[in-house]
Each structure stands twice: as C-alpha cells, then as structure tokens.
C-alpha cells in the first residue's frame, strides 16, 4: 500500500510541477494576474505533494516496512530510532526525495511571502522553480525511485552506511546542506525572472538578496558542521581535506558570497546588475554540479553515494540549465544595463569589485583543482589526483588577500576617497594589526602566512568594530542615551548593516583560527602500556585500560585515559582534569574499523587523542595539540547568526534610490 501511495504522489507531483511551470511562464508572457494566481496554486500543490510523499517514506522507515525497496536498502530494526528517521537522507533515492521536500517548502514559502508583490517577476520565478521541481520529481519517479516494491520483503535490512551512524551530526549536517543547496534554486528563479523580463528594478533587489542570504546562512553552517564532523570522527585532527565533495559545497558558497557583495553595489550604485545575476546563476549551477559529483560515481570521495544511473540524468539537466542560462544571459544582459557608474577604484565599491574578482578566481581555482583529474583523464587517458599541496598553495594567498580586503573595503568611503580620508581610514587599524602581529610573535608564531593573517586580521577586526559602532557613536553624539541608541541603531534600523559586520567579525576569527590551528598544531605518536603515561604539550596522559562494549549495530573497544596537568610523576599522580575515552568501532558492514577520537576542548586549544591500534595491554595513540581550533566552529556560527540578523525584514518597506549625483551618501540612509 505504502509504495503505491508514494508512487502516486510522485507521479502527481511530476504532473503538477510540469503543468504549473507552463501556466506560470504563459502567465508571465501574457502578464496575466489570473495566470499568476493559478501558478501560485500549483506551487502550493507541488509543495504539498512533496511533503506528503516524504511523510509516507518516513512512515515506511519508522514502521520498518521492508516491502519498500528504499527501506529494505537502508532500514534495520537493529539501529536506534534516530538513525531510522535520518535514514531518509542516508542514501541516494531518499536523499533526492528529501531534496524535493525541501524544494517544495522553499517554493511554497517564497511564493506565499511574495503573493501580493513583484507581480511582474513572480510568474517567471515560479515557472523556473517548478521546472526544477519537475526535474527532481522526474528523478524520484524514474531513475531514483525510492518507492519501488520488493517482491519478497526481507525480515530485516542492513541499516545505513556505518560511517553515517557514527555521529549525531548526521541528524543536522545533511539537512543544513540541503537547505543551503536547494535554497539556491530560489534566487536562481528570481534571476531568471529578471532576465526574462529584461529588467531588474530597485524594489526587486530585496527579495533577490533575501532569497540568496537565507541559503547562504544554511550553507555556511553546513560547511562548518561538515568540518566539525570530520574533526570529531575521522581521527586525524583535521577538518578540511579538499575532498571533491567538500569542494562541491564550497564552490556555490564562494559565488553566493560574491553575489551578496555585488548586490550591495548594485543596490547602492545601480551597477553590476548583469554580473550579480551571473553569479546567482553560477551558484545554482554549482549546486547541481555538486549533486552530480556526489551521485555520479565519477569522483572517488568519502561522500560518494554508490554508483548510480542518475549521474547522466543530472548531467543532462546541468547541461540544459547551463545552455539556457548562457543563452538568456547573452540575450538580455544588455537590457539590465547600469543606471549609475563607478567613480574611483579606490573606494568602497572599488574594493567590492576586487573582492568579487578574488572570489571568482578562488572559485575557478577550487573548481579546476577538483576537476583536473577528470580533465587529464579525458585528454591524456591518465589517472592523477590533485592533492592538498595544490589547494594550499593556491588558496592561502587568495584567502589572505580576501582578509586584507575585508579590512580595507569597509574602511574606505563610498564614491571617491581623498588622500586625507584614506589616511584617516587606513592608518589606525594598521596599528591594531601590528599589535596583534606582535602578540602572535610573542606567543611563538613564526609562519609567515600566519603572521600576515594576524596582521590583516587585527586590521580587519579594528575596522569591523569601528564600523559596527559608528552609527551608535553618531547617535550618542546627538544626545541619545546608550541603551535606546544601541537597540535602535544595531537591531532596529541598522540591522542589515550590523548583521553584515557580525558576519565580517566572525570571518576574521575564522581566518585567524584556521591559520593558527593549522600551522601551530603539534602532535606525537606514542605506544602506551596499561598504567604508563606520557607528557605532551603540558598534559600528562595515562592509559588506564580498555573496555569492550557491544551494541546491536557495532562492537566498540573503548580506551580510557586520565589527563593531568603539567609534568607530574609517572603514572599520573597529579589532579585529574578530565578523562578521555577514544574508541574503535567495528561495524558489521565496514571495510575497516572506525575510530572515534576523544577531544578535550578549552578556550585556547583542543587536546585530541586518537587510537592508532589496540593490542592487548598496549595502545598506540596519536595525541594532537590544536590551538584555537574550537574558535572556528564558534565563529562560523557567528557568521550564520550575523546573516540571520541581516535577514530579518525591516518593518517599514522603504526603498531609497540613490541618485547618480550623490555619491557620498551616508551609510545609514538605506538602512
């Protein structure tokens, strides 16, 4: 019964999304309000069908209905309930259904929020979203159908891939990533609508920007959670390996970040419209490329789903969207022409341009590094892999330059900066930068890139905080008291601006923490007999023994260590600060046992113990001392929160069009 219901819902959604897309495009071409209303109804209907279909699949998973093929593939009565629930996104077919579910919700929500606005663009936007919806419904109905039936249902299934059961982050990382990935469809629809209409009016910038910022926030957090997950489970003390699929999540993030910046210039000066639209298209296309990478079996990666037939289908879709986007862009980019112009390169908008340039160069760098093995194989028939050295060598300088811009850009005024203005803006933060550099040097930092990051980081932090509190200072000068001025300038009227600087402050911390944690890490490999200790990086580690634990889905050997401060006597006589219990898990279905390291985090550093091997009374362990690594998670979260602050809509919808003749407009006017 369940599989039939599921298949019926999916077929209905193919029908609804296809019909809805046609109606919406026709309504756009004819400018028919009645057609727009109908396309809105179809958008809601598509969302409804997707939500119910996903509910049906969850029901099948929870009730262990092994007559459904997907449940027979990934379900198991032996795994905990949370694993059963998240099995929806643990394998190919379910994850595509989940994609449809999120797409449906995004489409319905955006359609509803803009139900009475932007009537000029909405039909084309809805048409584009529903076309994407049609493609994903088709995938679910055909090549990746999770609702196929099993003729002789097994009594129990194998459960999802063991690596995915190894950490609770499986609950949150994939949904965040999908919210980021799928969400890029929405700004893409808006961008296509602007191109089809041949104009991008000032009032349409708001939904465009908001629709880009929301998935950007999710993607930011998802990337961080992925890194944190790798760090918590993989046992090598790292959080980023330039794996093709990690890169796939980074690529749309880079272009979306560039687009968020160019959208600000577009809003202020009426320029870069075609460029912003291009970046938004690129962000969407890169999410589809990322989906192709994970699901085609072309790339070897820890994230790859098993080889499947949907690779070619996604590639055809990617190629079609690429061709469509390029053709539309070539036809219409000139009609989005600039209303304003840029006055000077040494100005805030000039820095925005350089920022965009660097983001795009970074995108191409990562993209080429990721695809290079494929290119070489296609051209020369040889296999090769591009490793960490390429990415580090290319990305570190560009990243450092971006940090520099993050400091200099906001310090420069809009329009044209005079020499005196420049000196006043650029010199004081430089002093802060030097102070931070000196502190780092005194604490033992010797790596050139890290020192440069500290200099630019100090600089950017100064500028960011100065900009953050600038409106507050102005208000207080005018005689307002601190409290109301704070709430009004930061959270009420200047919310967008304030949120943006919170993101910048987080980004500065991320840059510094990445530089410090990767160049200042120290590690030691040691074999300890039970009762033996070793002292490393200020702590004494004593191996107190092991324990076996059997769970239905895995066998674990847990090693116990006592951690005491300082040198201490052998045997660890001092006061025990904490115990650390790294473990080895052997899942029935895995190639190799999976270790779970233990991490002891303090504000300044992480102390990380990972088991290399366990034999009787001996434990070979890897101990890593990672300064500042915890700051990365915290600071990325801060970036997400900043994005959310900037996203909350203002109560009054006022749009201020900046006239061409007034380049030096005060920054609060628009907020």
């Amino acid at each position: 019964m369940t599989p039939i219901l599921g298949r019926f819902l999916i077929l209905a959604s193919v029908l609804v999304s296809t019909t809805g897309a046609f109606i919406a495009y026709a309504a756009g071409a004819k400018r028919s309000p009645e057609g727009l209303r109908w396309s809105q109804r179809f958008a809601y209907a598509f969302a409804g069908l997707m939500v119910i279909a996903t509910g049906v699949m969850e029901y099948a998973l929870i009730t262990h209905d092994f007559s459904v093929q997907y449940v027979a593939h990934v379900g198991s009565t032996q795994v905990p309930m949370w694993v059963t629930i998240v099995s929806l996104w643990s394998s190919l077919e379910g994850s595509i259904l989940f994609w449809g579910f999120i797409l449906g919700i995004y489409i319905a929500a955006t359609t509803w929020v803009n139900r009475n606005d932007h009537q000029e663009y909405m039909p084309f936007a809805i048409g584009t979203w529903l076309s994407c919806g049609a493609f994903f419904s088709f995938l679910i109905a055909g090549p990746a159908n999770p609702f196929l039936t099993v003729a002789n249902p097994p009594l129990d299934g194998p459960g999802p891939n063991a690596l995915l059961q190894n950490h609770l982050l499986m609950i949150i990382h994939p949904p965040m990533l999908y919210l980021g990935y799928v969400g890029m469809t929405i700004p893409f629809g808006f961008a296509i609508a602007a191109l089809l209409r041949g104009r991008l009016g000032q009032s349409f910038l708001r939904p465009l920007r908001a629709s880009l910022l929301l998935p950007w926030v999710f993607l930011t957090i998802a990337i961080m959670l992925g890194g944190w997950w790798a760090y918590e489970v993989l046992g090598w003390g790292g959080y980023w390996a330039w794996d093709p699929v990690e890169n796939a999540s980074l690529l749309p993030w880079l272009t979306a970040t560039a687009a968020l910046h160019s959208a600000i210039v577009m809003e202020r000066r009426g320029v870069l419209k075609g460029w912003t639209v291009t970046l938004i298209q690129a962000s969407f296309l890169l999410t589809i490329l990322g989906t192709f990478m994970t699901r085609s079996g072309v790339f070897n990666s820890v994230h790859s789903f098993t080889q499947s037939a949907i690779g070619p289908t996604i590639l055809v879709f990617l190629a079609a969207v690429l061709v469509f986007s390029v053709a539309l862009l070539a036809l219409r980019i000139d009609s989005l022409e600039a209303e304003g112009q840029l006055d000077s390169a040494v100005s805030r908008e000039g820095m925005f341009l350089v920022n965009n340039l660097f983001f795009v160069v970074l995108t191409f760098t990562v993209l080429i590094g990721t695809c290079f093995p494929l290119i070489v194989e296609a051209v020369k028939g040889k296999q090769m892999s591009v490793g960490r050295p390429y990415f580090d060598a290319m990305v570190v300088p560009i990243g450092t330059a971006l940090l520099f811009l993050l400091g200099v850009g906001p310090a420069l005024p809009w329009g044209k900066a005079s020499r005196k203005e420049m000196q006043r803006a650029l010199l004081p933060p430089f002093i802060t930068g030097v102070v931070v550099l000196a502190i780092g040097y005194a604490l033992g930092v010797r790596n050139g890139w890290t020192l440069l990051t500290l200099l630019f980081g100090g600089y950017a932090a100064h500028v960011t905080f100065a900009q953050m509190w600038l409106p507050l200072r102005q208000r207080m000068k005018r005689g307002d008291s601190f409290g109301p001025a704070l709430i009004d300038t930061q959270l009420r009227r200047g919310r967008r601006r304030f949120g943006g600087y919170v993101v910048h402050a987080g980004a500065v911390i991320v840059f510094v923490a990445i530089a410090v944690s990767s160049t200042m890490r120290t590690q030691q490999e040691v074999t300890l007999k039970r009762g033996q200790s070793t002292t490393f990086a200020g702590y004494t580690v004593t191996f107190t023994g092991t324990e076996e634990r059997a769970e239905p889905h895995r066998q674990s050997t847990i090693a116990h260590f006592n951690i005491t401060k300082g040198g201490g006597p052998p045997g660890g006589g001092g006061n025990i600060i904490t115990t650390m219990d790294p473990r080895m898990n052997q899942y029935a279905t895995m190639r190799e046992p999976i270790g779970t390291p233990a991490v002891y985090s303090t504000i300044t550093r992480d102390y990380y113990i990972s088991i290399m091997n366990l034999q009787g009374d001996e434990a070979g362990v890897l101990i890593i001392n990672l300064p500042m690594v915890g700051w990365i998670w915290f600071a990325v979260l801060m970036m997400g929160v900043g994005g959310l602050i900037a996203l909350i809509p203002s109560r009054r919808r006022t749009y201020v069009v900046v006239p061409e003749s007034a380049p030096d407009i005060d920054s609060e006017v628009v907020a």
Binding site: L322, S325, A330, R591, E592
Partner: protein, 171 residues
C-alpha cells in the same frame, strides 16, 4: 545579444560538459598504479595452515590474481565467496590471497567457516603490501603469465569486474 557573454559562456559550457561526460561511466575503483606494466614485486611468504612457502616467481606461466585482504575488513567478507567461486571455475588462473595486518588464528577461523580454494599468505610485517603500494583492503592486482602487473582494483570485486581485468592478463 551580447557576443562576449555568449562566447565565454559557450566555451565554459563546452568544457564543463565535455569533461563531465568523459568522466561518466569510468569506474574510479580501477586505480592507476605506477606498477602497471612493470614486473610484479617478488615475494616468498608462508601460507596460513600448511606453513608452506609460496614464491611468486615460481608461478610464472599462469595469470595470477593477487588479493590483499584482512579479517577485520567488512567488504572482504563480501568479496570472499566471489573469489573462491571464480578460483574453482578457473583452474588455469592462480589465485593468491595475502593477508594484511592480521592474526593467524583469526584467518584460520575465517577460512574454516567460509572455505577456500587457493593459498592464503601471511604478510607479517606488511612488507609485501608496501612493495605493491596497497592503499586499503581489499585490493586486487592482476598479473599476466610473464609476471607483469596489468591492473589494480580497489574495493570488493564482482565476477564481471574480475573477468574484465583478468582478460587484460590473458591478452
């Protein structure tokens, strides 16, 4: 019509689509190894159970399928029946298992429960695995009758993949 956008766009589309289509259908498990086309590194290792020494150079004249595995490896369990069945069906092909980083009694138990049709050798200090550049288990090397490595496969083999790679050794 903006020609610059069109030209740049068309170039990007062409490159992306060409590269990705070229990548489709390739199996990333078939791994390039610098050893392909080179003589297989020689070894003489003791067989589990019998204690006899098996010398690779003595196997010249027959294609050899050299499978690195371990009892702690899940996919090796999956692959084992395929290897045993093919070894029984292909009397003219010499199958050799090399166990990597494992205990002899565990291997004996594994083979007793699941059966075997070819010698299983003990690579005590992992030197043979290192000589072949084994990156993980299971990993399988196909050696032609002249003693040259012709293919390397990472991950559990299916019968089709085994035969496709074996064909290279018989060519």
């Amino acid at each position: 019509m903006n020609k610059t956008v069109l030209i740049v766009g068309v170039v990007i589309v062409a490159v992306v689509v060409f590269v990705l289509f070229a990548g489709l259908g390739k199996d990333p498990s078939i791994i390039d190894s610098p050893l392909i086309g080179k003589p297989a590194p020689p070894f003489a290792l003791k067989a589990v159970g019998s204690g006899e020494t098996v010398d690779l150079t003595a196997l010249r004249g027959k294609p050899v399928i050299l499978n690195f595995w371990a009892t702690w490896c899940g996919p090796c369990y999956e692959e084992h029946p395929t290897l045993v069945a093919n070894a029984r069906n292909l009397p003219n092909v010499q199958f050799v298992g090399v166990v990597f980083n494992d205990d002899e009694d565990k291997i004996m138990r594994f083979l007793a429960q699941r059966g075997t049709a070819y010698p299983t050798l003990l690579d005590t200090n992992g030197k043979t695995a290192i000589a072949y550049g084994v990156g993980g288990v299971p990993e399988t090397y196909f050696i032609n009758p002249a003693g040259t490595i012709v293919a390397k496969y990472a991950g559990p083999l299916s019968t089709e993949e085994l035969q496709a790679n074996l064909a290279k050794a018989l060519r």
